[in-house]
């Protein structure tokens, strides 16, 4: 299995999903070899010190000991003997030149572009280096299926499958259309498209995403399966130690503050809510390329004093913010799945989710809105804050419903897909 990130060093839902899926596969006694890149320096320093073979046992958060059948490989270029530093440098320079031609601009502007995706700096190089090294690794390892998560690992998946002659599954957690709307990055689109077309099976996280894969990438429908994500139950009941004395209601936005997540709709709805109710605060937890614009927008709408920005939260801070929140709102413009609402429900927070999300296919006990329908978002926020029975019913039914969405089912479905692929035709 080829991945890009893994908890606790994550920037979004992908790492969480990979963790949940592999853990469940482990419990089903499936052997998983998880290959992660070791990324070069970036402003997200946390990505770097990641999972060198000796260190991951000590990261207590993960409890890797639980994962009996999962093996981790962190690829670290400088340790790999297949190439001399000189040739590697040449390679990098070559790709950089290539990219310069592609974008007709300087390297810095190109890398800025990548920075805006919230992942680390020179991604294109990383991806191909990762592919080359993964292919190298594949020669020494035995496995039946190659399973690649999201576009960054598709080239690696293709290479490994070609070398080993094993069937390739690509797992689409998100597409370029979700992240960038209509302003797609052509290079990423091409990588995604090639990965999907070369794959023997494409796994989409929702029918919403499956439709995109078919209509935007021209992949034949009978090749694309839907496997819904699950949610990892926190199992912690912190209720008592965080009884926050508050006379203000808290409405939470949690996610990357990027175009995809619809922060501006959240703020416009907040403005409308405040016309009707006063004792409410809106918390935006997360970071992203639209953060500054969001702050300015809040000020511009005259609700700056009612909107709090927390920056990127992880671990216990996330738990804490859930315990404080009365309502979680996900106004995503395009959301392949959306694990966060499940986590919110798991933490007894009722949710409003956009209909343009995969998670709305699996949740019935949630309020659903069109992301652009600011009036309706505000209407529903007000209703939840105003009518305790609504909050109560959503919470109790929602929490119950979430317990049925398990990674075990996702892993089982993947297993079935693998088995079908391994039947000789």
């Amino acid at each position: 299995m080829l991945g890009w990130e893994f908890p606790p060093f994550i920037s979004g839902g992908l790492g969480t999903a990979c963790y949940g899926l592999t853990r469940a596969m482990d419990q089903l006694d499936m052997e998983v070899m998880f290959v992660l890149p070791k990324m070069v320096e970036s402003k997200y320093a946390t990505h770097v010190k990641l999972l060198t073979p000796g260190s991951h046992k000590s990261t207590s958060f993960l409890k890797f000991d639980e994962l009996k059948n999962v093996q981790f490989h962190a690829i670290n270029s400088s340790l790999l003997p297949y190439t001399t530093p000189e040739t590697y440098q040449q390679k990098i320079e070559e790709t950089l030149r290539l990219k310069q031609e592609m974008f007709g601009g300087s390297v810095s502007s190109a890398s800025q572009l990548f920075m805006s995706k919230d992942y680390s700096g020179d991604m294109y190089t990383e991806i191909h280096r990762y592919a080359a090294l993964a292919a190298e690794l594949a020669e020494d390892e035995r496995f039946d299926i190659v399973h690649a998560h999201d576009w960054m690992t598709y080239p690696a998946g293709i290479a490994v499958a070609a070398i080993s002659g094993r069937p390739l599954v690509v797992h689409v957690h998100s597409t370029e259309f979700d992240r960038s709307g209509e302003h797609v990055n052509q290079m990423i689109y091409d990588i995604e498209r090639e990965g999907m077309h070369r794959a023997d099976k494409v796994v989409a996280v929702s029918h919403f995403t499956r439709n995109l894969v078919i209509s935007r990438y021209g992949v034949s429908g009978d090749k694309v399966e839907v496997v819904y994500n699950g949610v990892e139950r926190s199992g912690k009941w912190l209720m008592d130690d965080t009884v926050i004395d508050k006379d203000e209601k808290i409405v939470l936005f949690l996610g990357r503050i990027t175009m995809q997540k619809g922060p501006e709709y959240f703020l416009q709805a907040a403005k409308k809510v405040l016309e009707v109710i006063d004792n409410v605060k809106f918390v935006m937890a997360g970071s992203g390329d639209m953060m500054h614009r969001a702050i300015e927008m809040a000020a511009g709408l005259g609700i700056g004093h009612k909107v709090l920005f927390t920056g990127f939260l992880r671990g216990e801070d996330v738990q804490k913010i859930y315990k404080m929140a009365d309502l979680y709102v996900m106004p995503s413009v395009s959301e392949p799945f959306g694990i966060a609402p499940l986590e919110a429900l798991d933490n007894d927070v009722p949710v409003i989710i956009s209909k343009q999300s995969g998670v709305s296919e699996v949740l019935t006990h949630a309020l659903k809105v069109d992301f652009w329908d600011v009036n309706e978002i505000a209407n529903k926020i007000v209703a939840v804050l105003k009518y305790p029975p609504l909050q109560m019913t959503l919470r109790s039914h929602g929490n119950f419903e979430v317990r049925r969405l398990r990674w075990k089912d996702a892993a089982a479905k993947c297993k079935k897909i693998y088995e079908e692929m391994l039947i000789p035709v």
């Binding site: 016309e275 009707v276 009036n375 029975p389 609504l390 019913t393």
Partner: protein, 415 residues
């Protein structure tokens, strides 16, 4: 010699329009949707069924007899959107073979929350039936056949009814059969007719079910089942929604053909006949007393109130609704009172039911909302606005611009 007693429930709610907390308009109902649904159901069900039954009554020269309960809300809507249905009902009334029953005009659950309101709505319905069909109803049926001993006593005390109708639920009958006339506990002269749910549901629910061992159900087979009651009962009470014909069971299932042949098949047996509910209670004395201390209904398998009052949203909405009764009535504003009463229709609370929501079943089919939560939000927004309107009336506009929950201490204050 079993008599077959048909009673059809005919009802359509007045559905609310999408109403947000930002709406300030006092028009709450979706005229367009109500009109189109009313016309659609009229064309698929009311018109063809009325014509068919009228035809059967004429063909059997008065030996085929039936009864209806048509809610006041539907009468209003039919007059407005589909007057031709009214004229076919009128023609049915003219035959003398059709009896009209009384219920709450607004198809409400008022019995459970306000006895005054309950009696007022029954009287309003009696007036309407008398006005349209020239009959004074002698039998009462409560919304969704909700029933208990108290209801029977209240109905008897009104002095104008001979009998009451409810579900022949197993747990109230025990070993007894629904095929007799009974007497409610605590009543002197009032009688009780009980639905034979098994035979009724064979038509209303199972008719088109291909997994059912008895499918396809023919008139001949069904008449045989009715005749089997011979010697073990006086009456087979077949009570069902009128929308069974053409709406719940589509025309292509053969439901109309079934009904066309049923009277002939039933009457083939010389001991069988058809009677209206009033004729049934005149013909047969009561076999026993039935004690129903706890409330029953004809809904779902539970036969209880959980479809309308099963979750916190439902009970909150209905409590808030009846809590403002005095305030509403003290405005003496007919429009406000009528709006408030239209909100009492049981369907509004049925839409908020979360019982089978996740499994997606019949509850969904009749639900104009995407989810029970949406229906609750919409209902509460309307109720909130209605409440503000009567504050405006009583305080001479002092709270005219009131918005925001702080100004409405009566209506679910935020904790």
């Amino acid at each position: 010699m079993p008599s077959v007693c048909f009673y059809f429930q005919v009802h359509q709610p007045v559905r609310l329009r999408h109403y947000t907390v930002f709406d300030k308009n006092d028009h709450y109902f979706d005229d367009n949707k109500n009109g189109s649904i009313c016309r659609k159901v009229a064309n698929k069900c009311y018109l063809p069924a009325n014509r068919l039954l009228l035809d059967m009554i004429r063909r059997f020269d008065g030996r085929f007899r039936i009864s209806y309960s048509v809610t006041g809300l539907l009468l209003e809507q039919l007059e407005r959107y589909s007057p031709e249905v009214m004229s076919t009902f009128d023609a049915l009334a003219e035959t003398g073979c059709v009896e009209f029953l009384a219920e709450t005009y607004y198809h409400s659950l008022s019995f459970l929350y306000s006895r005054n309101e309950f009696v007022e709505q029954i009287n309003k319905h009696i007036e309407a039936i008398n006005y349209f069909f020239g009959q004074k109803p002698k039998l009462f049926r409560n919304t969704e056949l909700i029933y208990n001993n108290d209801l029977a006593c209240l109905i008897e005390s009104m002095g104008c009814f001979d009998a009451i109708i409810t579900e022949g639920a197993d747990h109230i009958l025990g070993y007894r059969s629904p095929n007799f006339v009974y007497q409610p506990k605590g009543c002197n002269h009032l009688k009780l007719l009980l639905k034979n749910y098994s035979l009724s549901d064979d038509i209303a629910f199972r008719f088109s079910n291909r997994d059912w061992a008895q499918w396809p159900l023919t008139a001949e087979k069904f008449a045989q089942w009715v005749s089997n009651v011979n010697g073990n009962g006086n009456v087979v009470n077949l009570f069902m929604d009128y929308e069974t014909f053409g709406e719940h069971q589509w025309e292509d299932t053969g439901i109309f053909n079934f009904m066309r042949h049923l009277p002939g098949e039933v009457l083939k047996h010389p001991d069988n006949n058809f009677k209206t509910p009033s004729e049934v209670i005149q013909s047969y004395g009561s076999a026993d007393e039935v004690d129903v201390p706890h409330i029953i209904s004809w809904a779902d398998t539970e036969r209880d109130l959980s479809a309308w009052l099963g979750n916190a949203m439902q009970s909150n909405a209905i409590h808030e609704l009846y809590r403002i009764e005095k305030k509403i009535k003290s405005t003496k504003d007919e429009k406000i009172i009528a709006d408030w009463r239209k909100l009492q229709t049981s369907d509004h609370f049925y839409y908020m039911c979360t019982k089978y929501f996740a499994d997606g079943d019949v509850h969904k089919y009749f639900n104009p909302y995407d989810s029970p939560y949406d229906s609750y939000i919409n209902f509460m927004n309307v109720l909130d606005h209605l409440h503000k309107r009567c504050s405006v009336e009583t305080d001479d506009g002092a709270l005219g611009s009131a918005s925001g929950i702080e100004n409405l201490p009566d209506l679910q204050p935020v904790e």
